[in-house]
């Protein structure tokens, strides 16, 4: 009695996924194999056009590189923050969790425009640096990749921190004491015990940040501007400006495949390093 009920319970969701996710995806693949923007002549012309253009490869590389840079920045800022969180007293931990989760509570548009205010020529960063006498001319941060990585780092931070904190707080606190009692310094303990054991959280965080930052169309466009071209912008231009849907479909599938490749490589790494946490 229970067995059939179990899969029957999953049926509505499965149907919803099939109709609003799987079917459009198949249609997208279908559309990519048409030569003209009226979607009337089947053929491989759009694929040939995209794959034959060196510019396409530069956009793919830039997009993946943006993901890598954002991942690196979130690790550099997020990992120490997670360590601070672990050592913090419970009351401070509650405040920290609120601050960490805050970016998720705000609309992506609001967050992005807030970053324009911070990064602009007359923005907070430039005014601060000028008033401190570190620079005399305002830095160009908007419409540069540096500004984009800075803002994405903040926007994607919760996706790094939440899995990291969840894995690290399940680590046995005695492990650190055991390591110290055996004569290991704090750094040795960090790199030989804490980092290896927090790998599953780190990999999950990298995965989420990478997938999210490579496809963050609004941030990429509003902060990066139209001169920094990533795959999502290309899709938007082709589908809603030029109305070349087959080409947009080709770019979409390329984005999907390239992000999925990196994500599966990461999760394979994660599985290899995982399994010790509950050991």
């Amino acid at each position: 009695m229970i067995k059939p009920a179990e899969w029957q319970l999953a049926l509505p969701l499965a149907l919803a996924f099939a109709s609003i996710f799987l079917a459009p995806l198949l249609m997208l693949v279908g559309v990519s194999f048409f030569n003209d923007d009226k979607i009337s002549q089947p053929g491989l012309a759009q694929w040939a056009k995209f794959l034959g253009d060196p510019f396409s490869y530069k956009v793919i590389a830039d997009t993946l590189l943006l993901g890598v840079k954002t991942v690196c920045a979130t690790i550099v800022v997020g990992y120490p923050l997670a360590l601070v969180y672990l050592d913090a007293p419970p009351r401070l931990q509650k405040v920290m969790i609120f601050v960490i989760v805050m970016p998720l509570l705000l609309s992506v548009v609001v967050r992005t425009f807030a970053w324009i205010v911070v990064l602009g020529r007359e923005g907070v960063i430039n005014q601060l640096l000028i008033s401190l006498g570190i620079i005399s001319e305002p830095l160009r941060l908007l419409q540069t990749e540096l500004g984009l990585v800075i803002s994405l780092t903040q926007i994607e931070m919760p996706l790094m921190l939440l899995p990291l904190i969840s894995v690290m707080s399940r680590l046995d606190p005695n492990l650190r004491d055991a390591s110290a009692a055996l004569g290991a310094s704090r750094w040795r303990t960090l790199f030989t015990v804490i980092v290896p054991l927090s790998m599953p959280g780190l990999v999950a965080g990298c995965l989420l940040v990478f997938a999210s930052s490579t496809t963050a169309f609004i941030s990429q466009t509003v902060i990066g501007g139209v001169r920094l071209i990533y795959l999502p912008l290309l899709i938007w231009q082709q589908s809603l400006v030029v109305f070349n849907w087959p080409f947009a479909a080709v770019v979409s599938i390329t984005l999907l495949i390239s992000v999925l490749t990196v994500v599966s490589a990461l999760s394979w790494l994660g599985r290899r390093s995982g399994g010790y946490v509950h050991g």
């Binding site: 492990l175 055991a178 390591s179 055996l182 290991a184 050991g279």
Partner: protein, 361 residues
């Protein structure tokens, strides 16, 4: 066995630890002899684990000193104290093999790799896990994990060994084996050892001396036999072994001997503690094996209402109730003859050593 490092003394002097406003350890002083096994015994929250963590260097004391061989170690961080510790949950590094776990402390100390290999072999031999070098901790049983934790702690040749409830997670049979094993290792290596436990049998069987702790203070620090036979406080009396408590009054005092009249209706003499006066309400504590049943009334016998009698191995445990409502347990060797129903009096056994405590009202 190769070199046996000289055993060290461990002195804890007037140690106090505060957690916020609460005193976790309250002015504890212990002088531990070289090569001695001392058990810190007490209920949970008595400060025994905190005391251990101070010695290990994980917790800072508010005041007081810890000395190893006379030298204070209070200024040293945990990783420079050279004190071995085995945790209740063993805290093995789950991503490292048995050999890597044992090598961890040696590598942290920069021991040469040939020497590391030699010591891995030596200490895994000692704990009888030579064939398990390449296993991961989760592939081992609880007892084996504990042996690895011991080997890991011992491999760095610590000056002091700390054991934090090391047998609590083991089942009963294995626990006894491991207690014997630890005692054997400790003897061979001549290590001064502190064992934290809430299990009095464990403390009795493993330790040379026991420090009974309650509410952050050491109530009594003595040999297991002395603690059992001559408990100095009511807490120790109740915490160690089974005992009967009866109400009474001091009728007379003479040369340190008090004559006590039980509320249940008998009187006898026993040695009196210092601060006691005639007419004071007292509690008399007698171990179950120091009471006897009798069918004859007399000045030293009081009337009881016999209850159930339960055979317990070679002994018979009688349950009884006095006329003033106290319940008693009386243990006698089991005899072939059936229980004598006429035995409605209770007396002190010939070698009884009842203890007197002032009753706080």
């Amino acid at each position: 066995m190769q070199s046996t490092p000289a055993a060290r003394t461990l002195d804890v002097e007037d140690l106090t630890v505060r957690y916020g406003a609460a005193l976790a350890v309250d002015g504890v002083t212990l002088a531990i002899e070289p090569g001695e096994v001392v058990a810190l015994l007490g209920p949970s929250g008595c400060g025994k684990t905190t005391l251990l963590r101070v010695i290990a260097g994980f917790v800072r004391q508010a005041s007081g000193r810890v000395r190893v061989d006379g030298a204070t170690i209070d200024h040293l961080p945990a990783n420079q104290r050279n004190i071995g510790i085995v945790f209740q949950n063993y805290a093995l590094f789950p991503h490292m093999t048995v050999a890597e776990n044992v090598a961890y402390g040696l590598r942290a100390r920069g021991v040469r790799s040939s020497e590391v290999q030699a010591r891995i072999s030596r200490f895994l031999d000692i704990v009888q896990l030579a064939g398990f070098r390449e296993r991961l901790p989760r592939q081992l049983s609880g007892g084996q994990q504990q042996r690895v934790a011991l080997a890991r702690a011992l491999a760095v040749e610590p000056s002091i060994l700390l054991l934090d409830e090391p047998f609590a997670a083991l089942d009963r049979n294995l626990r006894l084996d491991m207690q014997i094993e630890v005692k054997r290792l400790q003897r061979t290596l001549g290590l001064t050892t502190i064992l934290v436990t809430h299990d009095q049998d464990e403390a009795m069987s493993v330790a040379d001396r026991i420090a009974v702790m309650n509410k952050g203070k050491v109530e009594q620090f003595d040999t297991p036999v002395a603690i059992y036979d001559r408990p100095q406080t009511l807490f120790v009396n109740g915490f160690i072994g089974t005992t009967n408590l009866m109400n009474g009054k001091v009728a007379a005092l003479h040369d340190g001997t008090a004559t006590v009249v039980l509320d249940a209706g008998a009187s006898f003499s026993l040695s009196a503690p210092a601060k006691i006066s005639v007419g004071a309400s007292v509690l008399i504590s007698v171990r179950p094996e120091q009471l006897a049943l009798s069918s004859v009334p007399g000045p030293g016998a009081w009337k009881i209402q016999p209850g159930l009698s339960l055979p317990l191995g070679a002994q018979l445990v009688h349950e009884a109730r006095t006329v003033d409502g106290a319940s008693l347990k009386i243990v006698e060797p089991r005899r072939a003859s059936p229980a004598d129903t006429a035995r409605v009096y209770c007396t002190l056994a010939a070698d009884a050593r009842p203890t007197l405590f002032p009753r706080s009202t």
